[in-house]
Subunit: 328 residues, 4 copies
């Protein structure tokens, strides 16, 4: 039988994402609600190894629901990838009387949690937080909705210039393996074409689109390019490639970069974070472990961490079709 | 057999909502994609009666996806509530060679469409657009996600003052019958209490919350109140009521009002509008009528207009529970 | 000769304004730069009386430049209006070894400072911070520029609805004695008419404007009304008054309220706060007292507190003229 | 004696800037107010050569005051740099009965206007619009205040990540010759160091700052780099250079790029545009020519175009000092 949980530790790890603070807050408040103790771990798994802990009460997390980043800070820990590192971390948790751990992050975070659970049978629940939305088993990850809004607001600004000058802009957005940001922000920003990691025929279709755009009387164009798209060219090379056959275009490149990770979370992400934070604590007090709490059809679901890490997420072909139609 | 659709008219009606322009754009672009003609109707059903039409092409709707409001304008038409009015509208549509109609709006809009369809067997598809999210059969209505962000951003600003002065703020948000905005924005803004139209025990719970807040050391408080909450007091009377038993509070009232309807749509609403606009045209070319295109589990679904208008939407008890826990 | 300053206290008082945190930060960092000690006083003059102090270092104020409100909190202190109160405050300051005081706020704050200085010859410098811009001797007060942006963004949202529905909106903005917010935001938001505290003929001109608007083919209208305008009617009564003679209008009222005080400060306010914070500390170390540091022609100036409190600010007739011309 | 002005043309040229639409609106409305005709010229000087004109009335410019970019579009015209090009433009203006020209843009725009005026004695007034603020004789150019807000909001987002990860970020902002954006946004965003085109000792000071930051316990750092700073290294080379001697830093680069030019103008820019648009029309009807209308101490001033184009703008040493102090 699962040991009764009296004290829960929470950490954020990997790339930061808007909504992490809101999720920490919900974990801490849920502990308070259920009369459990709560410990914040600074700097992710590295802080776990070093015992960089602080007791958190309901009042410790006031006024953070609307802040980007993570007040517990994050890091990537090489040491936690070693057995020795994880053993130290386990010792620190045991010394502090911690019974269970909530880890907030993406696939690297969950992989670390999986190893840790296997080696020490330590109760772990993960909360998916990454702007890329590239976790299996949850409809949305924390930070993704906010990042979409950041991206479309940035492209709206660039479109002011594109329209004023009849220019072609290539805009790079985040997404190494998943095109969710590119596809959704591309539709949302009214992009003429979108290049995705999940598709191969990018360049040829882009050239066809440009031809079509010209014929249909479009005088400015936005092309959204996911970081991980598969043309084999970087975005500056793509621009060069287009300019060779389309001398009529005044082409500009914009790499949106790190602004996509920050900012105050959207209401959607704050509510999602609240649901998942509550869900994580309730899963642990329910004796669950080795799972991620995700959201499916707006309800909290429990997904084995192994499943969450699978790489066979389905690509939304229907949404790609919508993109093609609305960009005519 | 359904008549082949060659020409589609589109209108917006009732209260405006962010995403209406994006939906019009998607309808127009879909018509263009499928080689159908498209006609924009100005000022909703009133413009339908007056034949206030304009031919729209794919280029007519450029650079509107990010604009609030509706460029086709909206209105409430008393005349369309009469048989004579609807007969005139039908004549205008027939004269213009229109085969089908897409109506974008809320329950009043759909009711009008339902009557019109019954009387003239005229193909009609509705797109749900209202910030209140109070339409049955769709997970989300257009404008709702944007309104949530507008509300939490406004409350974030007010919280700056609440925290600086240790004040209690009562904030009224939209929602006559549905508490979706109040509940979600209340969680998202970290409100201490939320009063909803779907619940009765509002006042007592609020007073309990205030007691609890005081004991837990909270020095400022935000209470979110839906327009249609059931205490029988308006928000100024509520403030007065609290001040009688809680002299320690410096209480302020803020009615957010009309800013909640406007603004550039969120990415979520733009993508939703694009899906639904495409879905509406494809439903019509598929021979469907008398339905609303909604979204369920992120897929476009067809819902009979009668169903959409039903008033027995389920209240999200689970989310209410999350609100209670995260506000400890 | 003025005593050498070794330790400076800083407080915020009265209504909060965006940029207060940035000003505190600049005061603290300037102290650090000049090797002075710095003490933060919580809750304004009330905290001064209660000795609610905290030592502040350059690191205490990290990551606050972009936050609205004031982390030192503010209050209105009745006790400080009494001699006894001020005597207690002086004792606390002396006990803590504080040599000088920076007070950030508006006219109430400066009046308190003036009394305090007279009674105890205690060095005081004020920094003007109020969204109303109603301080004499400085071109701008902290928070004013941010409030203008908040107001025009709110009216932009409301205009979406006004345009979509051909409506007339009356929008109340802050400003009891000064029309700066109303006049500038009215021009910035493209209002058709603006009612100001500094003018008498408001109602008649408004009615003339509405006539003119109707003739010139305007289909929607925004009228910006300062809190303190002189018609003798509140904004709801104004709406009623218009509706009697203009039945063609669908009139709505929006009171923007407390959102105007909050929010992340604009770059302008952050830079202004930085200049004034540095200027305040340098004025004190220079032996100045009983002055406000303001900004005139983009340079920091020293203004006697008595002058700052004068009520004969000039009204910008030229800008009123611009408003009249651009609203034709 | 100057010929009476009956018809004024207006164009935007060069890089677009927020507030251009607001300035066009003010020009058009002022013409309407003074019963002059107004003609909009599309695509700047190129449209002038091609006679790409449209009559504009007060109603043509409704609902554009809050839009970024320029609805008249802009361009860079090689042909206008030739005498033949300018002769064609003059012919088109004469054919259309235009008596005077308002040109909205930066130094290239003014240089073109100067040539045109000299050759044809055609009345010309310039309105300074460029985000760089690099025009002599005006305190502010249109678009500059908006760009500052865009930049600090972007850096605020990046700081979320910097703080969460204890990272060093190098952020490139616009400004080839003028450091106004870098200096003001650097102060506003709380940057630890700022590299400017007007200074030489950039790299050494940056390295000193990093040493100092480390000692003072800063765990994350933002360095703002103007495009045109004088180290001889691009921003990626700067990052490489730092990483060689500071292995403890996890360094990232972000080039903000084109988002800085777009977006809805701030209230400040909208009011400035309104003043300058009115001022430009009134200058022309007053018989003035060959001048720029600028703003000095909040009043509209007339500056000879030659003076506006001078390159000896003073660098704000006082503000640089504020930056040094507030970044300790």
């Amino acid at each position: 039988m699962a040991k009764k949980i009296n004290k829960i530790a929470v950490l954020t790890s990997g790339g930061d994402a808007p909504g992490m603070n809101a999720a920490i807050r919900a974990v801490v408040r849920s502990c308070s609600y259920y009369n459990l103790e709560c410990v914040g771990v600074y700097r992710g798994y590295q802080g776990l190894i070093e015992g960089d802990f602080e007791d958190l009460t309901a009042r410790s997390v006031r006024n953070i629901i609307n802040k980007g980043g993570t007040f517990l800070k994050s890091s990537r820990s090489e040491e936690f990838k070693t057995e020795e590192g994880r053993a130290k971390a386990h010792e620190k948790l045991t010394d502090a009387g911690v019974d269970a751990l909530v880890v907030i992050g993406g696939d690297g975070t969950f992989t670390g949690g999986l190893y840790f659970n296997r080696e020490f049978d330590f109760p772990i629940v993960g909360i998916p937080a990454t702007i890329d939305n590239d976790i299996n088993g949850t409809d949305y990850t924390l930070g993704y909705d906010t990042a979409l809004n950041t991206v479309v607001e940035a492209i709206d600004k660039i479109r002011d210039t594109a329209s004023s000058h009849n220019r072609l802009f290539l805009i790079e957005v985040m997404g190494r393996d998943a095109g969710d940001i590119a596809l959704n922000s591309g539709i949302g920003a009214g992009a003429e074409e979108i290049l995705l990691p999940e598709e191969d025929q990018g360049i040829q279709r882009m050239m066809d689109s440009l031809e079509k755009s010209k014929k249909s009387g479009k005088t400015s164009s936005i092309i959204v390019v996911a970081e991980g798209e598969k043309s084999g060219k970087n975005i500056f090379q793509l621009a060069e490639f287009i300019s060779q056959s389309h001398k009529e275009y005044d082409i500009r490149v914009s790499v949106l970069g790190h602004i996509q990770r920050g900012g105050s979370p959207s209401c959607f992400d704050r509510v999602l974070a609240s649901k998942l934070g509550v869900g994580a604590v309730e899963a642990l007090t329910d004796g669950k472990t080795n799972i991620m709490v995700g959201v499916h059809h707006q309800k909290v679901v429990h997904v084995p961490l192994e499943t969450a890490l699978k790489e066979d997420r389905e690509f939304d072909q229907e949404l790609r079709r919508v993109a093609n139609i609305t960009s005519v």
